[in-house]
Amino acid sequence: MIKINNVVKNFSDIKAVDGINADISEGSVFGLVGTNGAGKSTLMRMLAGVLKPDSGQIIIDGMSVYENEEVKKQIIYISDEQYFFPNYTADECRAFYAGIYDNYDNELFDELIGKMGLDKRRKVNTFSKGMKKQLSIILGVCAHPKYLLCDETFDGLDPVMRQAVKKLFIAMMEDYNMTPIIASHNLRELEDICEHVGLLHKGGILFNRDLEEMKLNIHKVQCIFKDADGRADFEKNTDIMSTSVRGSMYTYTIRGGVDEIRARLDDIDMIFYELLPLSLEEIFISETEVVGYDIKNIID
């Protein structure tokens, strides 16, 4: 269990993380999404115990993580820019990790390196960017960490490799009770694998919710009303996040469950309506739009 209590981090006058509260429970996959510069990586580095929060606490399994070896033994952090020692081969990297983490799984390392088609005797600096990512994932997973922090790990992998890595994570969750925490911009990808999603914006957390529940509680409705009274009645009693009009067709983004919205729509006399679920990407856009992060403002 990771508890993030009112954590603040500033870099001189830049507010990177501004009072975040969140709980991340074990055995589920936590997805961290956010607008650019929202503080995702800073939060990740604090979770990994590399950075010290200015105020607030990060408590992992009841202990503070910063500079705490006992806790950090259970954590692997795969940063978005991996660092490898100069002139090290893949196997020498493994030996380094095995020296730090107890119970390092050397057999699994050999198996995965073989399956992914990497050569463990080759020098890491001759690897391509994607291959370095693969290597760092393998190095991390073989430590059997309790918490695996991935900062934009899927970005830069080809589609086949992304599927393979997802399958690997799932197997590790089932067999070793690993809890992955994944920061990514690839919302499509997060949708398959995450159960909880935290959305960061300007250093604060906009929401931290169960993904399926979130998807069940936000909908898009396209409808044509018979008259203005019906529309006024509908708009008055519904939690509307955004509206757009094209001719007589109204499109709303609405908070609420399917049955509840359907009941309301059936009550009102209208020519046509259609209820559509939203993808995580659309939810992301609607939620950040509400707080004023809007692409229209950027282009106009």
């Binding site: 799932i170 089932e174 499509r188 694998i193 993904l211 399926e212 069940l216 993808s279």
Partner: protein
């Protein structure tokens, strides 16, 4: 066994639920057949095991499957899930009828379709 449609925006557990339900209703998974294990299905589809677990939980609640501790999930006989399925299909039928009404198809024509459908052999097993 089943596949996930990534362009479908409905939640993934709902897709798993719907597809498994279809397999059971159509008899692909017969009563007392073992369901694929949560772990294997999760790895096969590369989706979260808890999502599969959630779909299985819902299947159990609706009477499609039963759990044997330590051995896995098994398919129930149709007497267990028939009424839930009929209720769901009725809802779908009402929805379609409403849409037909919206496009001004007259009642006699709809009745004719219903009679034809019930009179002849029903080969459409998909829905």
């Amino acid at each position: 066994m089943i596949s996930i449609d990534y362009s479908d925006k409905s939640p993934i557990y709902e897709q798993v639920l719907r597809k498994m339900e279809n397999l059971i209703v159509n008899g692909v998974l017969a009563p007392d057949d073992k369901m694929p294990s949560v772990r294997n299905l999760a790895i096969e589809l590369s989706i979260n095991p808890n999502t599969i677990q959630r779909a299985y939980g819902e299947l159990e609640r609706k009477g499609y499957i039963y759990t044997v501790k330590g051995r896995g999930n098994f398919v129930c006989g149709s007497d267990k899930w028939r009424s839930t399925k009929v209720e769901a299909l009725e809802k779908q039928l009402i929805q379609v009828l409403r849409e037909l009404k919206n496009v001004n198809v007259d009642g006699d024509h709809i009745k004719k379709i219903v009679d034809e459908c019930l009179g002849g052999k029903n080969n459409d097993k998909n829905q």
